[in-house]
Amino acid sequence: MLSILGMGAAHPDGEIDNAFIEGLDIGTNEQWILEKIGIRERKTSLPLEYIRETRNEDPRAARGVARCSTTALAVKAAEKALVRAGISASDIGLLICNSCTPEQVAPAEAVRIAAALGIEQKAYDVISACPAFALHMDYLSNFEEERLPDYVLCISAAVLTQNVNYNDRSDSAIWGDGAAAWIVSPRKSGKLRVLDTHFMADPTRCDAVVVDTFGHFHQDGRAVRDFSVRQTVRLIKRLEQNFELDWERDIFIGHQANRTMLAQITNNRKIPETNHWHNVTTIGNQAGAGAPAVLSEHWDEIAPQQKIAVAVVGAGLSWGSVLLEGVG
């Protein structure tokens, strides 16, 4: 059985609040943002003056002024996860990474992170954007346990504010930058054990969310929102049917897309606010880093026997879930 031994998250210091977005004069205001997506602030690796002056019309320029990169955030998150797991980088036998904003297109982001951490082991990217936490856990659960090393470092990191066109009122309000890392072991027990994993995709709808290698993020917002709510509810229902979930005790973490969407989901499944962990309101949508970053933030609060249902959706279109249980 897989266990998670430690987690870490990292975000840049820069902050875009709703007043800043309102000041861009792109047809939106704080009230509209709070009503539609419920996000108050987002973390960014870009200087605010750069965004204000250029609107990031040419994302190439963003790389030149950015205060940190995908790799740098990923390394910070990994270092925290290693400390929590009580191991060092030299213990890692495999590193897998998910990113939709890699620092280079080749080699893989995992390779750059491995080089930065001094890990000379297998390192490659396993990618499906936002549902990365479910993909990585489901991918690792495919393996015969003896074929995995003692410690696997999983990472999801993205600096999507560097790919946002800040003339677009919807995209401007959504995205934040962040990285999350977690250490998985097939043999060593840890704070969380993995009870169930699930991952699925519908490639026929993959054009609904696109990040051009050289350009901006764009999506079919309405289609993605409807898909996200519907699919997340299905994922939770599947877990409710197969496991004894008690929402007075257990925890739900969804894809950190937007707060309004998450409220629709928790209302549907009657999940009380106290048992819904999230960080999208203050960090923004961090793509695949969002859900594991939330779990990392609450690491010290996880109680023995408490189940944590993580249901994530996104580009691909793809979706998945992980059911975890606190170990006492």
């Binding site: 280079q104 080749a106 893989a108 080089a115 490659y124 995709a201 709808r205 691909g316």
Partner: protein, 322 residues
């Protein structure tokens, strides 16, 4: 341990040959070097390349591409499916990879999945030079009940879209192509005897593609790495290689290839095609089979491949009876 078979494979290249284009000094040098024998292909539109030499690789209108990683990947995938007479409905998983994607999201596996019209898990496992080998290595490590009846593994790359055709030795080396493997735990044309890949992240920057830049390839470092690792990996699998095996290696320049061959003595038949097709990145194993499958001596095929990562690996296949 799970048994895995290569049911079929597909290989696709763009139609446009670099030697057919008017690229000034590059064309002259290619001819002087016997360019007619190095059949480099490009997915870029001839008019675009002749006008701009791809000096600025950020020109990204659809009109500059005759093919994309997705269209090449789809063609190679369909060839693999047809080769095994397997329908898209029989697929259970697509693993994709590209070191030169035009979009980071969705990933190449999902774009190819869309073209094939399938609703199945599809995601990227990107290992640079050994994409197809890593996909096999993964499946061989999975629980039997997690391996679908058919998995499509695709590596599709257009490195010419990241090369400046006015300067650099890279312009003489790389060619665009996609390779696809159709893998099954039940049956296939080849039984997979062994697969292995090794990574060296510390040296990775010697072979890289900047997000907003051109491809960089340091032959001295990468060539030495590959020669050294190929030699080491052959040493570890010597007992599994038949004296009648055909060993295919197509990353090393001739002098390095000769030294590798000398370091691994035996009655093996060696094949190489770098001087014919150029460096095809992750599609190399599929190209090797495409070129040498009809080789009657090839009861056992050993493919050495590597590159971006830096990675190096070996795949040993034994032909199954009809």
């Amino acid at each position: 341990m799970t048994q895995l078979y290569l049911s079929s494979f597909g290989f696709a290249q763009p139609e446009t040959r670099l030697r057919s284009l008017s690229l000034g000094e590059f064309s002259s040098l290619l001819e002087e070097q016997g360019g007619a024998t190095r059949d480099l292909r490009t997915a870029l539109a001839p008019s675009y390349l002749e006008e701009t030499f791809n000096e600025d690789p950020f020109q990204r209108g659809e009109e500059i591409f005759q093919e994309t990683p997705t269209s090449l990947g789809e063609r190679s995938a369909r060839a693999a499916l047809e080769g095994a007479k397997v329908s898209t409905e029989d697929l259970g998983l697509i693993l994709g990879a590209s070191s030169t994607p035009l979009q980071t999201t969705p990933v190449e596996a999902q774009r190819i999945g869309k073209q094939l019209g399938v609703k199945i898990p599809a995601y990227e496992i990107n290992a640079g030079g050994t994409d197809l080998l890593l996909h096999i290595e993964n499946l061989l490590s999975w629980k039997r009940d997690r391996i679908p009846a058919y998995t499509l593994s695709v590596s599709s790359n257009i490195p010419t879209s990241r090369i400046h055709y006015k300067k650099g030795s890279e312009r003489f080396r790389f060619s665009d192509a996609a390779g696809a493997f159709l893998l099954s735990p039940e049956k296939g044309r080849y039984r997979i005897e062994h697969v292995q890949s090794e990574f060296s992240p510390a040296e990775a920057q010697q072979f890289s593609v900047e997000l907003y830049g051109h491809l960089r390839y340091e032959e001295n470092v990468v060539g030495a790495f590959l020669q050294d690792r190929f030699s080491a990996v052959l040493g570890t699998v010597r007992s599994q290689i038949s004296e009648r095996a055909v060993i295919i290696e197509s990353n090393l320049e001739p002098s390095r290839h000769e030294r590798l061959q000398e370091s691994f003595s035996g009655s093996y038949q060696w094949r190489r095609f770098l001087s014919q097709t150029g460096d095809l990145l992750g599609a190399t194993p599929a190209a090797a089979l495409s070129l040498f499958e009809s080789d009657e001596e090839a009861e056992q095929i050993v493919i050495l491949t590597g590159g971006i990562g830096l990675v190096a690996g070996v795949l040993i296949l034994t032909r199954e009876g009809e």
